[in-house]
């Protein structure tokens, strides 16, 4: 009887798994094949050539991956450290000041990236940063800093400030308090904020497109070029490379949540 009752549930679970994983499985199959044309259900040839390009310094996909990784790592580093200090300052505000400050920090998160790109482009061009790595990095940091600041406002809302007071009463200088008390305590949130900043930059399209002016070529932009050019196998490979870091992060988070006994895992 129980088996009969669980059959529809099993069917629905199978449907969910199929609908969720089929697109990703298709990407994997495309990335390790070539000459796969309509109406064939299987490719003519299986090959690792698309993935090999990721290791060839002359390949476009290799150089764009390097640019994407450098941008995301730099965005993660700048936004996590700046977000820590901004979040720390804002979290100590109360009343209307606190509400206004949080609303300000929310603005870079709420405004659509395309609107942000158009608003920023003129200033960055005037500063000579258009079409440059540094200009795109600045543009990526803007929304990323909004996310990390809000993240640290939440962290500092439950932070035990007495620990800092105790260190000060024991003679620690303001610098020592930050470097030897606060930062070691916030090592894990810092890593999480770094990941947040990394991900905001990693999949960014409009800001890179308008501020980079086509001269700063990241992997998401190359992926879009591959789609336009009908290069499905390369597009699938680029798509999978773009998915790996966020997926790894999701797995790590899910494992952490599981350790805490929460509901998802």
């Amino acid at each position: 009887m129980n088996a009969m009752r669980s059959l529809p549930r099993l069917g629905l679970a199978a449907l969910l798994v199929f609908a969720t994983l089929l697109p990703l499985a298709f990407l994997v199959a495309l990335s390790v094949s070539s000459d796969w044309f309509y109406p064939n259900l299987a490719p003519r040839r299986w090959t690792g050539a698309n993935w090999d390009l990721l290791r060839r310094s002359g390949a476009v996909i290799f150089s764009s991956l390097r640019v994407s990784a450098a941008l995301a790592l730099a965005t993660g580093a700048v936004s996590s450290i700046s977000g820590l200090f901004a979040g720390r300052k804002i979290a100590r505000l109360d009343g209307w000041r606190g509400r206004v400050a949080v609303a300000c920090a929310f603005l870079p998160v709420a405004v659509p990236p395309l609107a942000l790109s158009i608003g920023l482009q003129y200033s960055l061009l005037k500063m000579g940063l258009g079409g440059r790595f540094s200009g795109v990095l600045f543009a990526h940091v803007v929304p990323a800093l909004g996310y990390t600041t809000l993240f640290f406002v939440g962290i500092f809302a439950v932070f035990d400030w007495l620990v800092e007071d105790e260190a000060r009463s024991l003679g620690a200088s303001p610098r020592d308090v930050i470097m030897r008390v606060t930062l070691p305590l916030l090592r894990r949130p810092l890593v999480e904020a770094f990941a947040l900043g990394f991900l905001v930059s990693w999949a960014q399209v409009p800001l890179t497109l308008l501020i980079g002016q086509g001269l700063v070529r990241t992997l998401p932009l190359e992926l879009m070029s591959y789609v336009s050019a009908g290069q499905d196998h390369l597009a699938a490979t680029a798509g999978l490379v773009l998915t790996i870091p966020p997926l790894a992060l999701l797995v790590v988070t899910a494992l952490a949540v599981r350790r805490l006994g929460a509901v998802i895992a």
Binding site: L12, A13, L21, V102, A105, A110, A203, L223
Partner: protein
């Protein structure tokens, strides 16, 4: 440090964080008024009149709202269904919940790529239809990408946004749903009535802020629209980009008006989000 000085420095830091956006908004307002930007042609409300009087703008806004509304509602219904069905702590339910959140890690541009590769007229779906003798050429496949009603775009967005809403729905069921359902059953409600009076309202109220966040994000998304949306009517982000990159400098001012419209939609989303979030807290 005194409270007043600390307050002032905290506010200054917050303004520094938002200053590039504030500068961008001011620049867009000046651009829309014809005072700044490459197409500056003297201060006037001409660009507002041109954009707001153009039927293409309203078609674009309505089409964008349709896409955002349809994909948000479809993803919400699926998330509510998944949360109501897969709720046990062990076995198949737990596995289903884990798999359901996998697309959360997939960037939007990759979700759009999957849409193109699967739903286009020579995509995976068309190949399966050919193998099942349901069609003999790509032309027999109904257009699901760049189609007038945005079906492919909606499917890709539902696939991408479902995990986020499902994640919230799973948490809602675990935290509040079970207790509410037990109360309803204690009061004599059957399975269907329990779902209608306890599970559904708890899910709906709890999901509203997340739904508004998804709606706002989808309405402003560029990369999924550029790969899957049709050229007529144009989605609002695509219309904005078209005007902004127009060879005629006069069209740049129109783009700034569209930027301001997009920002207004987002700010509406933020206000609605805060309003519903505070109401949900009161209700709970």
């Amino acid at each position: 440090m005194s409270g007043g000085r600390r307050g002032a420095s905290g506010l200054i830091v917050a303004i520094v964080v938002s200053s590039p956006v504030l500068a961008g908004i001011v620049y867009s307002i000046l651009g829309a008024l014809g005072v700044a930007g490459p197409g500056a042609d003297g201060m006037s409300l001409r660009h507002f009149q041109v954009v707001l009087g153009d039927s293409a703008t309203w078609r674009s806004i309505l089409w964008t709202v349709w896409i955002a509304l349809a994909s948000t509602l479809a993803a919400t219904i699926l998330a509510m269904g998944a949360a109501a069905i897969f709720r046990a702590q062990q076995g198949v339910d737990r596995f289903a919940r884990l798999v359901a959140i996998v697309p959360l890690a997939v960037p939007h541009v990759v979700a759009a790529l999957c849409g193109v590769l699967i739903l286009s007229q020579s995509g995976l779906l068309a190949r399966l239809a050919f193998a099942a003798s349901l069609q003999s050429s790509p032309a027999d496949m109904p257009a699901l990408t760049s189609d007038r009603y945005g079906i492919g775009l909606i499917i890709a967005l539902v696939w991408k946004e479902f995990p986020f809403l499902a994640l919230v729905a799973f948490a809602l069921i675990a935290q509040r749903g079970v207790a509410l359902e037990e109360t309803a059953r204690t009061l004599g409600a059957g399975a269907l009535r329990t779902f209608r009076v306890a599970t559904l309202p708890a899910l709906w109220r709890g999901l509203l802020p997340a739904m508004i966040a998804v709606f706002t994000f989808v309405a402003g998304n560029y990369e999924v629209a550029v790969l899957l949306a049709p050229s007529s009517p144009l989605a609002l982000p695509l219309l904005t980009m078209e005007r902004y990159t127009d060879s005629s400098l006069a069209a740049r001012g129109d783009a700034f008006v569209l930027v301001l419209l997009a920002i207004m939609v987002s700010l509406w989303g933020v206000i609605a989000h805060e309003w519903f979030a505070s109401r949900v807290e009161v209700v709970e």
